[in-house]
Amino acid sequence: MPGRATSLAILAATLCAAPILAVVWIGLSGETGDYLRHLAGTRLPTYLLTSALVGLIAAGGAGLIGTGLGWLMARTEFTGRRTLGWILILPLAVPAYVAAYAWLDLSAAGGPLHAATGGLFPTIRGSWGAGLMFALVLYPYVYLLARNTFSSQSADAYNAARTLGAGPMSAFSRTSLPMARPAIAAGLALVVMESLADYGTVSHLGAPTLSIGLIRAWSGAGSLVDAARLSLVLVFIAMLVFGLERAQRRRARSVNAAGRHKPSPRIRLSGLPALGALTACLLPLTLGMLIPLGRLVWLAAHTETAPGLVAASWHSLSLAGITALIAAALGLATAYALRSRTAIATLAARAAGLGYAVPGAVAAVGVIAILSGTQSLLDPAWRSVTGEVFPILLTGTGAALVFAYLSRFAAAAISPAETALARVTPSLDGAARTLGASRGQRVWHIHWPLIVAGVTSAGLLVFVEVLKELPATMILRPFNYDTLAIIAHNFASDERLGEAALPSLLIPLVALLPMIFVARYLSRQDP
């Protein structure tokens, strides 16, 4: 359904890119001061270098963990695998800044880890610390996409390599890995972009990335215009990263074209290898989730429970649920549109991804600019009828929040949907058409079963992102409207980690609800 999909994709792109374009406009139209020159002569090189370092460490770590676990989950069988398959996604629901606050508290001078090891345990800080935090909580991006790809791969190539005398590792790296590369690259692109757009983690751990420079330009120098200009650099980096990812995808297309799918049998692990696999799964889970949250819980034992958590859980759940559904739909539409290979569809997909590059606080400024601009446009007409200014209907509503979320996170929905849709090969469509299936029948009976896992994963990613989103939520929310992330951050920013514990814990718990739902739905799909 190219026509409808393309129009939906364009809608998605417009929605997602508009706030970023507004920020670009703010940056280009504002007055020119000497702040940027001052910055170029002082800290800009540090910002760029740190950004590169943090991005690389995050990508390297997340790539390693995500790919390894994805392969284990897709291609092997061992006790506990089924349960772990979903639990391994949960660290994504731990906001990176929460992990950072807990780890610094544990490992800094005076912390229990520092004391227990006589200062041997390194303090988790700086570029390395921040990169590590991102790797530990963002690896599920790579993991989810890699797992989907590995489990749908034909075993033929791998088996052929084995027959020709390659060991399991070598066969993996020569056949399975290259075929999974587009999916891994898509996951890595998300990891890098999210690391670069982060503010809370890098500021607490002392890793001055470009987003620190950007927020300083805004808060210190009071220049939103210069902040907007700096965010252009981030947008440029995003285009570069997503460009590289697309290049991967193109290179891999020919490899993936095998029409015949022989489901590969899982390698059954027992004894020591099974134990090793279990350890490999539990290690990132422990470092990314159990230890930081455990530290908070331990501190919470000494503090009172913050009020308002029930309402905040509900707000988080509903905002994340609505956004995830819309994002999954828009992501799927964009993926369909991309199949048409038209220039406009490609442009739309790229534009929709840009929001991911910009810190939430800046994306929120774009949303505010657009909504208040729209309201101002309506003023004259409204005034001629009622004699008053147009009422404040757009800013400070749930709709403004969903708008900002979509703009930020649509990219997280597009890549998984696109990867999923790659499973629907043209020959499959052709066969169905030959057998007389209508377009609706093809989509429903052939496409949907193949892509449902990918599409629900896409929705899940966005769901979890929204749960932990902070800066845009803070500034755009309606009156008296707290989310779990906001309550957690308010306490954590004062280093009151005990009070931050319960809301921080509730975020992954709330994320578990849709995960269980999706897991059950998918297991009925795929008996």
Binding site: A109, S219, W314, P391, F479, F517
Partner: protein, 346 residues
């Protein structure tokens, strides 16, 4: 294969979320809309007491000061904001520059509030104070070795100072006050010396610095007074133990006075409920509110004639405060920021 069920679940979410009461500014009920950069538990208690006393409901959005300023500015004439509250003088100044505050006659407050805490032009008024002070190790620093912020620049402190990053508003305001007192050149030399004397790259918040002293990583730290008070008053034995190894010192007592920053509020330019806004601001100076600041957040109440119970805070008072008008901090904020950039204070 029942995607229908999936979407039914989703739709039920959507419906339920939309049926949530939004910002119900109903016609009859009295309300005041507050945009606040504070997120402390004391404030929730104060708002509850205010509603109890006046019947006026408080609607609250809290966020970072710069973001609040941007939201009010963009909403312009139609902004529902009545009261804008920030926790840093520079932000008050910036909101004033952006034309967000309505000029108000706060002269009736001058009986109880020192003049340097009220904006000369009447755009805003401060209701609670925090001081940025020096903490040192009980064992490795002798009383008298440090008397002022300027002393920290001495080479004898090389590798001995812990301080957080310069993106933090409190560090910016401290340096802004030094710019005001010493001039830009001397302030820059001071900042450079602090960077040279740092025991480690800046990391964490003020509590992290106090913990750094307790753990022996550094001997001296710069911190807001209430973080130390928070640790002393904490239920967490580890925090108490760390604080017990540290002395808090209010510097520059013989000269300019210790640096003070404020929480302040002003009435929004287009406030739909200006009378309620004024009532709420007045309430911040009530015995109830002033007492809550002292007891719940360890802030220094601006009124000295209100009694409260907080032995930790009481032990710190009184001290000589820098009587620079806090609006000057706003004027020098950008200069301070550029100095930080030039000297490489992370």
């Amino acid at each position: 294969m029942k995607p229908v069920k999936f979407f039914a679940f989703a739709a039920s979410l959507a419906v339920a979320a939309c049926s949530q009461p939004a910002d119900e500014a109903s016609e009859t009920a009295q309300v005041v809309n507050v945009y606040s950069a504070r997120h402390y538990s004391s404030d929730a208690a104060i708002y509850a007491a205010f509603t109890e006393e006046t019947g006026i409901e408080v609607n609250l959005v809290s966020a970072n000061g710069d973001q609040l300023i941007e939201r009010v500015r963009a909403d312009g004439e139609r902004s529902p904001a009545d009261v804008i509250i920030t926790v840093d003088a520079a932000r008050l100044h910036r909101a004033e520059e952006a034309g967000l505050f309505a000029q108000t006659d706060f002269s009736d407050l001058t009986d109880t509030v020192p003049a340097n805490l009220i904006d000369p032009e009447g755009y805003w008024v401060s209701f609670a104070k925090r001081s940025r002070v020096i903490a040192w190790s009980n064992t490795r620093v002798q009383p008298g070795e440090i008397t002022s912020y300027e002393d920290l620049a001495d080479p004898q402190w090389q590798g001995r100072i812990c301080v957080r990053g310069s993106g933090n508003a409190y560090n910016q305001s401290l340096l802004a006050s030094l710019v005001a007192h010493l001039g830009e050149e001397s302030a820059e030399a001071w900042a450079q010396a602090i960077v040279d004397n740092m025991a480690r790259d800046p990391q964490g918040g003020d509590r992290t610095q106090i913990n750094g002293i307790a753990a022996g990583e550094c001997d001296v730290a710069i911190t807001n007074h209430y973080y130390y008070a928070m640790m002393v008053n904490s239920d967490d034995p580890a925090a108490q133990a760390a604080a017990a190894q540290v002395t808090l010192f209010f510097p520059n007592q013989e000269t300019t006075g210790a640096h003070v920053n404020v929480s302040g509020a002003g009435i929004a330019m287009n406030a739909p409920h200006p009378d309620n806004a004024r009532a709420l601001i007045d309430f911040f100076f009530s015995d109830t509110a002033q007492r809550a600041f002292a007891e719940m957040t360890n802030e220094i109440p601006v009124r000295t004639d209100v009694s409260w119970e907080n032995p930790t805070l009481a032990a710190m008072l009184p001290f000589n405060e820098d009587d620079l008008n806090v609006s000057d901090l706003g004027d020098h904020n950008e200069t301070a920021q550029r100095i930080f950039d030039r000297v490489g204070w992370q």
